[in-house]
């Protein structure tokens, strides 16, 4: 139990996906300034990350390794992710119509979100050996991503009112804010790493 807690804490805070692995930077920088849609985006990504993290773990453990097909790893992983995203898209469209319209183009783009493929690869490279560990890592990785983009959306609202020198408006100032956030998250590193 304690090791699961540590894995979760490490994935969400100490090695935050956005601020220390740089995965999912595109939505992080391009995210809208509205807190609720940032949160919705984060929730969708977390969902896809958890499902595909678990599925690819099972696929790797019970199909690719026994059959000696590790060479197909990347192709198989991207297939699973594309399938999961399609499934989530249909589900959201059917049951959460306003959320679906709010997401717009972002939903299909989750397929090419590095955080999703990244979590599948990291589960494998950290050699977790139970499904519970893989699921915990994937879920809290998503929580960390959500945390980062929600903080960013909140901060961007304030940046809009700040008097930023003209060449630094837009992306450069967002990157500076990300740097400060990343420093803050680096403070968690003292809590141990897994």
């Amino acid at each position: 139990m304690l090791d699961l807690l540590l894995i979760g804490l490490s994935a969400a805070l100490i090695n935050n996906f956005v601020l220390s692995y740089f995965m999912g930077i595109c939505p992080f920088l391009g995210v809208s300034r509205r807190l609720d849609s940032a949160f919705g985006m984060g929730a969708a990504v977390t969902f896809v990350m958890t499902i595909s993290g678990g599925l690819t773990f099972l696929l790797q453990q019970y199909a690719l390794i026994p059959l000696g097909l590790q060479i197909l790893q990347y192709v198989a992983f991207i297939f699973v992710i594309a399938g999961t995203v399609q499934f989530v898209e249909l589900y959201v469209q059917r049951f959460f119509e306003p959320l679906y319209r709010a997401f717009g183009v972002y939903l299909p783009m989750i397929t090419t979100n590095c955080a999703v493929l990244g979590v599948c690869l990291l589960v494998w490279s950290k050699s977790y050996n139970t499904l519970a560990q893989a699921l915990t890592f994937s879920f809290f990785g998503g929580v960390g991503f959500t945390l980062a983009i929600v903080i960013m959306a909140g901060l961007r609202e304030s940046i809009d009112f700040a008097d930023v020198p003209a060449p630094f408006r837009g992306t450069p100032i967002a990157l500076f804010v990300a740097a400060i956030l990343s420093m803050a998250f680096a403070g968690f590193a003292g809590m141990g790493s897994q």
Binding site: L19, S20, Y21, F22, M23, G24, I25, C26, L29, I71, L72, Q73, Y74, V75, I78, F79, A82, T111, T112, N113, C114, V116, L117, G118, L121, L122, S125, A166, P167, F168, T171, P172, I173, A174, L175, F176, A178, A179, I180, S182, M183, A186
Partner: protein
Amino acid sequence: MSSLHGLPEARARFVRGWFTENPTYVQLLGMCPTLAVTSTLPAAVTMAVATGVVLLCSNIITSLISRQLQPHLRILVYTLTIATFVTIVDRLLAAFAPAMSRQLGPYVPLIIVNCIIISRAEACASRQNLGTAVADALGQSGGFLLGLSSLGIVRELLGSGSLWGLPVLPENYPGMLIFVLPAGAFLTLGSLSGALNAIRMREKGTQ
């Protein structure tokens, strides 16, 4: 840029990829490897070359098969093509440069989801002939190489006082750890793109 319109399409695309449509500073694509692997110059260059090889191969295949593709299946086919070439590059890297392959870690397979490659397949290679697609891939890869190595140079120089592993700054230079840490990646890219914006604005002002 009006002088470029007279050039043939392929050549114009090649030049545009390096500068006016630079993937890192202008299009802001492929940020994940840009920030993650640029703490040293060799890693940055290896990453840019690996991405360039995949981009070139995928542009060639996309340009050749695009007419046979069902429109709704095209993204899936692009992604699988890219994933195949990334597997090849990843195995080659693991065989011939194992230390570098370990250092880059999951960022080599993450080339699959690099937006530059899929956006070039969609925006250029699927509509152009082979020659233009190749020129476009070379131009974009060159631009990506410029972007990554500029970050790598600044971060390695300020972070550890060396370039390509060779010490450049005096020995008592302490090395600013922050430029090696993740925060330094954001800081460097923010400063460089802000500086480029400033130069561009000044040029516009004097014209």
